[in-house]
Structures are given as structure tokens and as C-alpha cells.
């Protein structure tokens, strides 16, 4: 089917036919078939979800409190709003964190003002102030982050001035995030709101003399299933020092002096590329697009990093570690490749992961036939060169833009312009190519996939593996197709780095090779009449 684009076009047509006319027109622009001959591909992304279809997208609050702020270990996450939002964000993304020595770890906690009817009517500011006071008295954190839920913006509680007052009163860092759920079109808006606030009011508020040879920041890595632990292990083995992590296994305290790093590594382009840009503008730190998911991508990233620091000793050490790590996993990975050869995968995840995982699958013989992002933007699909052409929508304008300028005291150009241009020929320094370029001809790219489209595409393409999250995992199971959650890893992981890739292959094998799949069809299936009465509930 892969080489027959006409056949695939029919599949997409069938998917679209079920929609009312207006929705059909809208959804059509969110899907395409990769075709090298066509040259550039254009996809619609980061636009409003159609009401009433079962979208997988979350809200700005989820992106802010859940994704970006949630992994910060030393922060009291105080949700200002009714109880649900705090409850639903509690421990749900399986980001992990080990407390630094003597440091605090609030990962197991969620805090809420538990707004009631009367608070919505008369305002919740007093309650918020008292909640902050209690949080300080009981938990004594160095940082409190207040996140807003839908009612807060609507009733006009001024969380920003409360944060400023509290900061003065208690002498700790108190930040406010106006991430009401209705802002933007997906959780991506929440990433922006969170990161902008962190950039504006947390990064650079402390200076620290670091005795690090290769100080780096890890950006857009959220330590799902312990991924950051494996990445940190490899980086430390080579000799890098992580100044701060945004935000997996990270702390607010480290972010305060993160401007002391010499290179920013960007894992998830979607959630943080704009912050990496600001770091360069303000402090002179370039960023490198890396991908620590998949051994091939990991090796590429490690070599690029060594090249950036341009130190023969570092390069040698990098190659030594690569060789050592590879020796441990290559054999098993190759055996898995033989086992999986010819299998296909359907990926719908994140704003970067649907791309990142393609090389993971490829290395073990599995081809990606559909890939899409839940909350990606056009540049995540098409590459950064498309950014000047992206039209600003009303929803984009509702999220305040942060303008940064060169910090005259702290700015320090890490590499010369000429050196940078030279490196850019070799590596994605300040650049991301997007997902589509790496995909095979005939594969489908689909943005903001919904329940109906998931079913239709699965029926038509019969992939062996479906990778998304918990909301469509069981739909996939009901259709008899193995599903691997790439949001939470089904309690497994890490999947990053070297050891992670092997763990992933083992989990895929445990899944698709599990004997239970062979019992799906009842022994009386051949008797069509009987199957209709016994198996066919509907």
C-alpha cells in the first residue's frame, strides 16, 4: 500500500466523508501524504479544535501546570481554582524527580485553593493569600508557583499582584501564571505562558560561579518514565555538567542561574524553542536541537555537542562512551530488528515525540505509516524556515508575547558569528528541520487527530503498533491492535538514550509478541453464522 499514494488518498477521503461540510473542509487541511516529488508540504496546525469531535488535546492550564511546571521538584504548585484542575494534574504525567541533597521534593503533592461557589461570586483573592501563608508555614518552599484555572481570569482575581506581595512578605520566589484553560487552542499555549513567565522572572535572578568545563542546560525534556535519568547518566559519563533542566528532574533553584550555561540542548522543540531563542538574544547562548530518543539520534546529538565545544579530549571521550554503550545494546537491538522487520507503527503524540520516535522504530525494523502531533505548530511539521510565513491568529495574539533584549551585564557571546555559521553547516544549531522531511513517501501526516479519524485510519491501514496516550489506548485495544503509550510509557521507561532504546524494544516485544493476541479470534470463528450470534453483541 505504501507506494500507492492514490490508495492512501482514498483512505483520507473516506475519513473526511463522515464530517458535516464545514468540519470536512477544516479537517482536510490538517492532513497530507508525504510525497517527495511535491517538494514543500504545507499543513494546517495550531488552530482551533472543532467542537464536538473527540479531540485528544488538553488546555492551557494542563500545558502550564501539568507539563512545564509539574516536574520542578522544589516548587509548591498552588492551583488557584476549583478542586478538579488540581486533582487531575496530580502525579499524572509520571514525571519523576529525585531530590537534590538537602533539597525539597514536592513531586507527590498538589495544592489547591479549592474554590467554592462563594469564591466565584465574591472573588478568591483572600483565600489565595491565606493559602500561600499556609503553604509557607507548613512546607517552607523556596518557590511557589500559582497557576490560574478558568474562573480566575473570568472573575478577575489578580494573582500577579498577590504573588508580588507574597514574595515581599515571605522573602521567597512566588510566581503567577495566567494559564486559564480557555487560552489558546491547546496545551501548547500553556507551555508558552509557563516558559515566558519563567524566562521573565526566574532565569537569571541569581548569579553563580560554576566550576564546570562544559556547562549545558537541558531543555524540553520532562523526565517521563525516567528519561532524564538516562540522559543525565550519559552526559555526566562524558563529562558534561547540567546547570539546569527545563524541567524534568529540574529545580527552580537551578533555573535561577541557568544563564551560566554555555549551550542549550533542545529536546522538545515545540514546548521551548522560543525560550532557547531568547537565551541567545539575552545571554548569547546558542541552542542545539538534539534528540535523545533512539540510539542513532542520541549518537548524532552527542557528536554535535562535542563538535560545538570543539575539544579533542571531549570528542575522544564521546566516542569512547558511544562505543561502550553501543557494545552493550547493539546485539540485542539487532535481534529485535529481525523480529520486528516489516511491522508498521501509527504515532500520534505530543508536539515533537511523533517525530522523535520514528528513528527509534526504524532502528528496530518498524516503519512509521502515520504520524501526527496533538499540539504541534507548522514549524514542528515543516521546519523552522516556515516560521516567517505562519499567520498569527486571534488565539496567538491572546497569549502575551515576551520581548527580550540583550542583558548588557550578563551577555556573553559563547561562539563567534563565523564559528556559528560554520557549525550550522554541520548540525542543527539554532535550527529544527521538522518532522515531514524525515518521513517516507506515502506516509500520512495528520494534525490534531480525533477518535473518529483514529478508528478510520486504523481500519484502513491496520498498523501493528499504535502509539499515543491513555485516552485512545483502549480504543486501539478494542480494535485488536497493540498500543504503547508514549505519554506515560504504561509505567515503564526510560526509553531515552542507549539503555532506554533497548528497554523500548523489550517492551514492544513483550507487547506485540504476547501470546494473548493469538486468542482474540474464538475457535468457532470459521462458522460465520455462529460468530454472528455469540460474538456479535452488536
Amino acid at each position: 500500500m505504501k507506494n500507492n499514494n492514490a490508495g492512501i488518498e482514498d483512505v483520507l477521503d473516506e475519513v473526511l466523508q463522515s464530517y458535516p461540510a464545514k468540519s470536512m473542509k477544516n479537517r482536510k487541511e490538517h492532513m497530507l501524504i508525504k510525497d517527495q516529488k511535491k517538494g514543500k508540504h504545507k499543513i494546517k496546525a495550531n488552530t482551533r479544535t472543532i467542537p464536538g469531535i473527540i479531540t485528544n488535546r488538553g488546555c492551557a492550564y494542563a500545558g502550564c501546570r501539568g507539563v512545564v511546571l509539574g516536574p520542578l521538584k522544589d516548587v509548591v504548585q498552588l492551583v488557584h481554582g476549583p478542586i478538579g484542575c488540581s486533582y487531575y494534574a496530580w502525579g499524572m504525567r509520571r514525571h519523576q524527580g529525585v531530590a537534590a541533597e538537602g533539597g525539597k521534593n514536592f513531586i507527590n503533592y498538589t495544592f489547591s485553593t479549592d474554590m467554592q461557589d462563594s469564591d466565584v461570586v465574591f472573588g478568591g483573592e483572600r483565600k489565595l493569600k491565606e493559602a500561600i501563608k499556609e503553604a509557607v508555614e507548613i512546607f517552607n518552599p523556596s518557590t511557589i508557583m500559582i497557576t490560574a484555572t478558568c474562573p480566575v481570569g473570568l472573575i478577575g482575581d489578580d494573582i500577579n499582584s498577590i504573588a508580588r506581595q507574597a514574595e515581599a512578605e515571605y522573602g521567597i520566589t512566588v510566581m503567577a501564571f495566567n494559564c486559564e484553560g480557555y487560552k489558546g487552542v491547546s496545551q501548547s499555549a500553556g507551555h508558552h505562558i509557563a516558559n515566558n513567565e519563567i524566562m521573565a522572572n526566574l532565569v537569571g535572578i541569581e548569579d553563580k560561579e560554576l566550576d564546570y568545563k562544559y556547562p549545558i542546560n537541558l531543555m524540553g525534556e520532562y523526565n517521563i518514565g525516567g528519561d532524564a535519568f538516562e540522559i543525565e547518566r550519559i552526559l555526566e559519563k562524558i563529562g558534561y555538567d547540567i546547570v539546569a533542566s527545563f524541567s524534568g528532574n529540574g529545580t527552580a533553584d537551578q533555573i535561577k542561574y541557568s544563564h551560566e550555561a554555555d549551550l542549550n540542548l533542545v529536546q522538545c522543540h515545540r514546548s521551548i524553542n522560543y525560550i532557547a531563542e531568547m537565551f541567545e538574544e539575552k545571554y548569547g547562548i546558542p541552542w542545539l536541537k538534539v534528540n535523545f530518543l533512539g540510539v542513532d539520534a542520541t549518537i548524532k546529538a552527542l557528536r554535535n555537542m562535542a563538535e560545538y565545544f570543539d575539544d579533542p579530549e571531549l570528542k575522544e571521550r564521546t566516542e569512547k562512551v558511544i562505543a561502550e554503550e553501543l557494545a552493550q545494546i547493539e546485539g540485542p537491538l539487532n535481534r529485535y530488528k529481525e523480529l520486528f522487520e516489516g511491522k508498521t507503527a501509527f504515532l500520534f503524540v505530543g508536539g515533537s515525540r511523533a517525530h522523535h520516535y520514528q528513528n527509534v522504530f526504524k532502528r528496530i525494523g518498524i516503519e512509521t505509516v502515520v504520524a501526527g502531533y496533538e499540539f504541534g505548530h507548522r514549524d514542528d511539521y515543516e521546519g523552522r524556515e516556515v516560521i516567517p510565513d505562519i499567520e498569527m491568529t486571534a488565539d496567538d495574539r491572546n497569549i502575551p508575547e515576551l520581548e527580550v533584549t540583550k542583558d548588557d551585564k550578563k551577555y556573553n557571546m559563547r561562539i563567534s558569528k563565523a564559528k556559528k555559521e560554520e557549525l550550522q553547516q554541520k548540525m542543527p544549531l539554532d535550527y529544527y528541520e521538522g518532522m515531514i522531511k524525515e518521513m517516507e513517501d506515502g506516509s500520512i501526516v495528520i494534525d490534531d487527530l480525533n477518535h473518529h479519524e483514529h478508528i478510520k485510519l486504523t481500519e484502513a491501514l491496520e498498523p501493528d503498533i499504535f502509539c499515543s496516550g491513555i485516552k485512545d489506548k483502549y480504543t486501539s485495544h478494542k480494535m485488536g491492535i497493540f498500543s504503547k503509550q508514549l505519554h506515560s510509557y504504561d509505567y515503564s521507561g526510560p526509553y531515552a538514550g542507549f539503555k532506554g532504546h533497548l528497554q523500548f524494544a523489550e517492551d514492544i516485544a513483550a507487547g506485540i509478541l504476547n501470546p494473548s493476541w493469538s486468542y482474540i479470534n474464538p475457535p468457532w470463528k470459521d462458522n460465520v453464522e455462529l460468530a454472528g450470534t455469540i460474538g456479535g453483541v452488536r
Binding site: S18, Y19, P20, K22, T49, I50, P51, G52, I53, I54, R57, G58, C59, Y61, A62, G81, P82, I83, G84, C85, Y87, Y88, W90, N108, Y109, T110, T113, Q116, D117, D119, V120, A131, K133, E134, I138, T149, C150, P151, L154, I155, G181, Y182, K183, V185, A394, D395, H451, I470, K471, Y474, T475, K478, M479, I520, N521, A531, G535, G536, V537, R538
Partner: protein, 470 residues
């Protein structure tokens, strides 16, 4: 909350709309649309999926910032249109969220206009106001059931002999057990909501976007003709009670019973059914009762060591505390995050004969529960999986009961009701207490009797002692 009045630390409750979602999932051929920000439906789908291990498909009107200024009417209309075209449901639940309620959306008017403009006749659209700040999942669940009956229930001239059974938030397996018991009494019945198949769908060859099963609209319409209503909900305010509504509106006698967990509560249900049906209690049930009693006697010496903290949904706490109480497992702490006046009184009554001091909290959180768990030497936790926070921090075992259970499989197959289910549950609790005993008794005995004045004995030596005894 008694100590920290303004800061909720690790909530022991959820919000109203998730209760509404559970209720609507038990209605045949239904889809649910949450009017508000799309994060609400996404979060609740996520939470219900982990509990039931089933697809939970809930639509959203995806109100955006523009909608907060101009209203979400257009979003709701478009949402309904898409939902109808893609799913062809017979019933659509439209529930509100914080956002819709705060901006004052009139869903009744919008839905009425929509039905008129689009000539919608054969789809029942039921509206329920469920602001997240208006209560917890407990109120959301019961209010939704009542609204479904208020908006669909009719009275014809034909009085039927059927009974209505308004269920608490039980598992699909428990709903199946209720049906089995009602069948034993040869009763005709309507269960609301019937999640027995919708939230535990068998694997079949053809996946269906809306799972089979659920209470049919025709059955709900006829609820007004029934002979009796049994409702599992003794702590439910009468304004939220479907049984009370049916009694007030149609004169149907209401029996409001606790969830049949434990001997007394199950007896109450079985007696009621015998009375209503005029039939002798079937042998299968009397035997099952006998077996439960047998278990209670055989296990009592282990149960006597139990000091439990029971938490979660108020109605479930009542039932679980009840089985604890009658088995000598002291329900020392009974705590819910739901703010409910009657909770204190009902649980005080339940534990009036207790030899221990019982602590009863409503409107509390897990941080407070944890403090008391440690202060009062609790050795077993009974409640939903959010209590895992305490299990992890303090090493006190948690038996996962109720909703939600995120971190273990099988919540939809859990069967703790009736004589058989109570027996299962009691065995689980007893076995956990036995496990504690087996894991610790050598060290405990050593510390208590043999070396009580030599507390300095190193852990290593105690470890060796354990090995030596094997």
C-alpha cells in the same frame, strides 16, 4: 478542614462533571458533551480510562478566549452537530463546567433552540449544570441521575410491577451482581445507570464507537410507572435523590439503602427485595449469607487487629466502614473530601458502639488524613488509589476500593457487594492484616517481649534473628 482551612493538599475528592460523566456512561446509545474548556473532557477521559480500562469518549465544546467574551453558544451548537453526525447517538448529555457556569451559559435555552432549528426529534438531549466549584463528583453523579429522570421520566396510565434501582457509583461487575440478585427474586427492573456493559465491554470482532448496553431511554421513561424505587444513597441530599423525586412526583415508594457491602447492609437490601417481591429469599442467597457469617467467625481473631482509615466517596465510606465495624476492624478514621453535613452524623451513628475513638472528617484532604493515620497507628488503608500517596510515604498498605483506581488493573471487575462480594472484600482485608502479621511478628515479638529493654539491638542483628528462625 480542621487544621488548614484554605490550602487543600492532595485532594480527596474530584469535581462535579466527572460524576456526571460516570452517570451518563450508563445510558444506552449516549454521548456526553462538556460545555467548556476542552481540558475538562480530556482530563476526565484520562482519569476514567485508567479506572475502567476502557475507551472513554467525551466531547467538548472547546470554548476559547473569544467564547468567554461572546458566549459559547456557537461552539455548543457546532459541537452538537458534529457529535450527531459522527456518532448518531440516541441520547446526548450536555453538562457544564466551571467556565460555562462562570460566564453564565444558559444551556437549556441553547439546547432548546438547537433542537428547534435543526428539527431534532429522535435524540434526547439532557442538560445538567455541573460547575466544578458546585460540589464534588458525589453530587455531580446523583444530580445527573436525577436530571436524567426529571427530563425523561413520564407517567403513563399503566402502573407496572417493575422496580427502579438507582445505583451508587459501583463497578460494572457490581452492577452485574445486583442484576443477578434481582433476577433471583424474579423482579422486572430498571437499573440507573447501567454501566455493566458500557464500561466493561467484552472484546468483540467489531469495535463499536458507542459501547453496547446501558439503561435504555424507553426504560427511563417508564420509571415513573414503577412500583418501587430502591436507591443506594443514604447520605444523598433529598434534592439530589432520584428516588425522592420519583416519590414526590409520581408517588412511587422510595427505599433509600446503603450500598450493600457488609452483612447488615446486604441484609437490608435482601429483606427489602423479599418484601417488595413477596417471595421467599432464594436458597442461593441464604447459603451465601451463611458462608459470609462463617468467614466472619473464622477471621475475627485476625480482624480484631485492624485499625483502618476509610476514605473516598461518602456513600462508599459508609458501606466500607460498616463492614469494618461489624468485623471488629476499627474504622478509626473515616474521611471524605466532599463537604457534606450529614456525613458526620451518619458515621457517628454507625460507629456508636465502637470501643475506639473514631475520627470523622468531611471536606478534608489527604495531607490531613495522613497526619491522623500516623498519629492514630492506622495499619490498613481502605479507599481509592489516591491514598497511594500515604501508602508510598508511610508504608501502610492500601486496599484499593471504589473510584478511582489508577495504579492497579481490575477496577471494573472489582466485586465487593452482596454476601459474596462482601466475603471477597473481607478476605482481602483480613489477608492484608495477616500479611502484616507474617511480615513483622518476629521482630515485633522480639522487641516487645524478649528485648524490650534492649532497644539498641541493631537492625542487622534482628535481621539475623529472622533468618535464624526460618
Amino acid at each position: 478542614m480542621s487544621n488548614f482551612k484554605r490550602l487543600n493538599v492532595n485532594p480527596c475528592k474530584m469535581c462535579m462533571p466527572i460524576g456526571a460523566a460516570v452517570a451518563f456512561k450508563g445510558i444506552e446509545e449516549s454521548m456526553l458533551l462538556m460545555h467548556g474548556s476542552q481540558g475538562c473532557s480530556t482530563y476526565m477521559r484520562r482519569h476514567m480510562s485508567t479506572h475502567y480500562e476502557e475507551p472513554i469518549d467525551i466531547a467538548s465544546s472547546s470554548i476559547d478566549e473569544q467564547g468567554t467574551v461572546y458566549g459559547g453558544e456557537e461552539n455548543l451548537r457546532q459541537g452538537l452537530k458534529n457529535l450527531i453526525k459522527l456518532y448518531s447517538p440516541k441520547v446526548i448529555g450536555v453538562v457544564t463546567t466551571c467556565l460555562a457556569e462562570t460566564i453564565g451559559e444558559d444551556i437549556n435555552r441553547i439546547v432548546a433552540d438547537f433542537k428547534k432549528a435543526n428539527n431534532v426529534k429522535d435524540i434526547s438531549i439532557i442538560t445538567v449544570p455541573t460547575p466544578g466549584y458546585g460540589g464534588s463528583q458525589f453530587e455531580g453523579y446523583y444530580l445527573t441521575l436525577r436530571k436524567i429522570v426529571e427530563q425523561l421520566g413520564e407517567k403513563s396510565r399503566n402502573k407496572s410491577s417493575r422496580i427502579n434501582l438507582v445505583a451508587a457509583n459501583l463497578s460494572p461487575a457490581e452492577i452485574r451482581e445486583i442484576k443477578r440478585i434481582l433476577d433471583l427474586f424474579e423482579l422486572e427492573y430498571t437499573i440507573l445507570p447501567d454501566i455493566s456493559r458500557t464500561l466493561a465491554a467484552p472484546f468483540t470482532e467489531n469495535y463499536s464507537k458507542i459501547p453496547a448496553g446501558g439503561t435504555a431511554v424507553s426504560e427511563i421513561k417508564n420509571m415513573g410507572d414503577a412500583a418501587f424505587t430502591i436507591e443506594f444513597g443514604t447520605l444523598v441530599d433529598s434534592s439530589l435523590s432520584t428516588a425522592v423525586y420519583l416519590e414526590d412526583k409520581f408517588g412511587i415508594p422510595a427505599y433509600r439503602l446503603p450500598i450493600p457491602i457488609g452483612l447488615k447492609n446486604t441484609d437490608q437490601l435482601i429483606n427489602t427485595l423479599a418484601e417488595i417481591s413477596g417471595k421467599k429469599i432464594p436458597l442461593g442467597l441464604t447459603e451465601a449469607r451463611g458462608r459470609l457469617i462463617d468467614t466472619m467467625i473464622d477471621s475475627h481473631k485476625y480482624n480484631g487487629a485492624g485499625r483502618a482509615a476509610v476514605f473516598g466517596d461518602p456513600e462508599m465510606i459508609y458501606a466500607v466502614s460498616s463492614i469494618c465495624q461489624e468485623n471488629g476492624i476499627s474504622p478509626v478514621i473515616m474521611a471524605t473530601g466532599t463537604d457534606l453535613d450529614i456525613f458526620q452524623r451518619k458515621l457517628k451513628e454507625l460507629t456508636a458502639d465502637s470501643r475506639d475513638q473514631n475520627l470523622i472528617f468531611s471536606d478534608t484532604d489527604f495531607e490531613e488524613i495522613r497526619n491522623y493515620v500516623n498519629e492514630y497507628d492506622i495499619n490498613i488503608l481502605l479507599g481509592n488509589s489516591d491514598g497511594a500517596f500515604i501508602e508510598e510515604k508511610d508504608g501502610i498498605p492500601l486496599i484499593r476500593i471504589g473510584f478511582p483506581i489508577h495504579d492497579r488493573v481490575g477496577a471494573s471487575r472489582q466485586q465487593n457487594i452482596g454476601y459474596q462480594g462482601s466475603n471477597n472484600l473481607l478476605d482481602q482485608i483480613t489477608n492484608q492484616l495477616l500479611a502484616l502479621k507474617h511480615d513483622n511478628y518476629r521482630e515485633d515479638l522480639y522487641q516487645k517481649f524478649y528485648h524490650s529493654n534492649k532497644r539498641t539491638k541493631s537492625e542487622k542483628e534482628i535481621e539475623e534473628l529472622k533468618v535464624g528462625e526460618e
